[in-house]
Amino acid sequence: MPDLLSLYRTMVRIRAFEDAAEISSQGGVAAWGKQASDKPALVRGPLHLSTGQEAVAAGVCAHLKPADLLTSTHRGHGHTLAKGADATKMMCELFGRATGYNGGKGGSMHIADFSVGMLGANGVVAAGLPIAVGAAQGLKIRGQDAIAVCFFGDGAINRGPFMEALNWAVVYHLPVLFVCEDNRISATTESAAMTAGPGASARASSMGIAAVQVDGTDAQAVSEAAAELIREIRAGSGPRLLHALTDRHKGHVSVDPGLYRDPAAVAAALARDGIARARARLVEQGLGAQADQVDQAAKAEIDAAVATATAAPPPDKAAAYTDIQNTGAGVWA
């Protein structure tokens, strides 16, 4: 079982990465009631932050091996870092640089590191679920000793692919862990107003998938629940679902101040921040100095990532025509 300090380290790195990305996303175009600034943003386009949800990524990914495969959501920085990706190459991608994971072709919404089994964030809600069950099936067909994990949000359970993918995972008895990051808001709308019934766990149970609900702001609780579910899956149980109740501290995208939200609910979410609570627990255990070191190391790592990304070159124009089968106007290559 991973200790609290290592879970804390993962969470702090995610928070530092996203805080830095958020600062770098300010400027550029006018959006969400904010004026454009003269200074163009270094991170352009939609930046969906997982601030407040770090405990889920940390707690689940602590139990994954490099050979395990992972699909993610549009809010995928945390999952990618927790699965073992390099923060500098990620930041380069967010900055649209040639040295980024995707060579500047994907950005935040498509952040991925296939070398550690992270098969990509996704700009389409629920799209990662069918891909994850297929990845699990591919692993099974090839006789690989690995599992697939699929993160998705509470909004995703109202799209057809969620139902299809869960049914599929049961039908083929696949080694897949579904992880619902339930922050109770779908883009800018309260999910409860849009969702029938009690949610992801109940829908999973109706198809015979054992589901466990957990406090998704408590990394240790997530880690313990995920450990047991993943142990069962590796032992051949078939699919399992982890329903993590968590909080999104920020707006839908980084430039969204989230003014439509109930201030009391946001204040309550900030008060139960998983990182602050983990830190307090570490201090209680006499590990305050180690926590300080983790904080400083994360800051130094991310500062260096931003500096590297800022200085990195943009992609060559010719790269617009690579990585497509049969690029351009009728030229067969």
Binding site: L69, T71, G100, Y101, N102, G103, G104, K105, G106, H110, A112, D113, F114, S115, L119, G120, N122, G123, V124, A127, L129, P130, I131, A132, V133, G134, A135, A136, Q137, G138, L139, K140, I141, R142, Q144, A148, G160, P161, E164, A165, N167, W168, V171, Y172, T322, D323, I324, Q325, N326, T327, G330, V331, W332
Partner: protein, 307 residues
């Protein structure tokens, strides 16, 4: 599937050999008997997940052949085809490849009406990352399928349902390259470009033109993306007249792409012939109105010759 253990097939009704018998061997035995349920995967009616799972399988080292029954049902998986399969390699900067063949049969077939008869090849030719294959003969169907599976990227593979019962010589293992047209009939007076089921309608019309002393050159494009621009431009430059014929609706169809390209590069007179912009109706008279048969091809060619 014998040659490459990573090739699997998945789709609805594959266990009984596919609704058109595509997943049966020469003796009519369902392929699942030979390859087992891990390689001939009988799936739920879940088109989004059939294609989405194929993307996931491909990323896990499998080469899936996806059966979507008819192109009309592939529309239930349009996100997975267009946003997931087609974009994966580009979006992720070449980290991922999705070697999958998505079979989406096209065309009017046996009073199947508006939701089982469409020819939507132009939709997919429009999407970067997708290759679009439209075989017209048994040999091409075999050879293009081999190339599609070997290509290492997503391929939309469109067989015309009326061609299923067609017989013809096939050399097993002989691949047909993607992007290389076939001259189905040589001629000097007018070029007729087509693909899939309509090639035969064009050949029938060409016979009738020959009886009137007009030699039509009929080109079977075989693949719409990539399409053999060179073969078409050379022929149009030679004959000075180009007619594109397809069963798909003429408006915003792929015929417009070919006609425009030929107009941009040659002095040839160009024309296109497709279906009127109507859904395919059920009653024979309505179905026939949507069909582009030899008579319509002949009339369009004669009209072009008079210009």
């Amino acid at each position: 599937m014998d040659a490459d253990p990573t090739v699997v097939a998945l789709g609805e009704d594959l266990g009984r050999g596919g609704v058109f018998g595509q997943y049966r061997d020469a003796e009519g035995v369902p392929l699942v008997k030979r390859f087992g349920p891990d390689r001939i995967i009988d799936t739920p009616i879940s088109e989004s997940t059939i294609v989405g799972a194929a993307v996931g399988m491909a990323l896990a080292g499998i080469k899936p052949v996806v059966e979507l029954r008819v192109v009309d049902f592939a529309l239930c998986a349009i996100d997975e085809v267009v946003n997931q399969a087609a974009k994966n390699r580009y979006m992720f900067g070449g980290q991922g490849r999705v070697p999958t063949v998505m079979r989406m049969p096209i065309g009017i077939w046996s009073a199947s009406a508006a939701q089982h008869s469409q020819s939507l090849e132009a939709w997919f030719a429009h999407i970067p990352g997708l290759v679009v294959v439209t075989p017209g003969t048994p040999a091409d169907n075999h050879g293009l399928l081999l190339s599609a599976i070997a290509s290492g990227d997503p391929v939309v593979y469109m067989e015309h349902k009326e061609l299923w019962p067609t017989t013809g010589p096939v050399t097993l293992g002989e691949a047909v390259p993607l992007g290389k047209a076939r001259v189905a009939r040589a001629g000097s007076d007018v070029t007729i470009v087509s693909w899939s089921r309509q090639v035969q309608a064009c050949l029938d019309a060409a016979e009738q033109l020959a009886a009137q002393g007009v030699q039509a050159e009929v080109i079977d494009l075989r693949t719409l993306w990539p399409w053999d621009k060179e073969a078409v431009l050379n022929s149009a430059a030679k004959t000075g007249r180009l007619l594109v014929v397809h069963e798909a609706i003429q408006v915003a169809g792929f015929g417009g792409e070919i006609a425009a390209t030929v107009a941009e590069h040659t002095h040839a007179k160009v024309a296109r012939l497709g279906a009127p912009r109507i859904p395919v109706g059920y009653a024979p008279v309505l179905e026939e109105e949507a069909r582009v048969g030899p008579a319509k091809v002949l009339a369009a060619a004669l009209k072009l010759l008079q210009r």
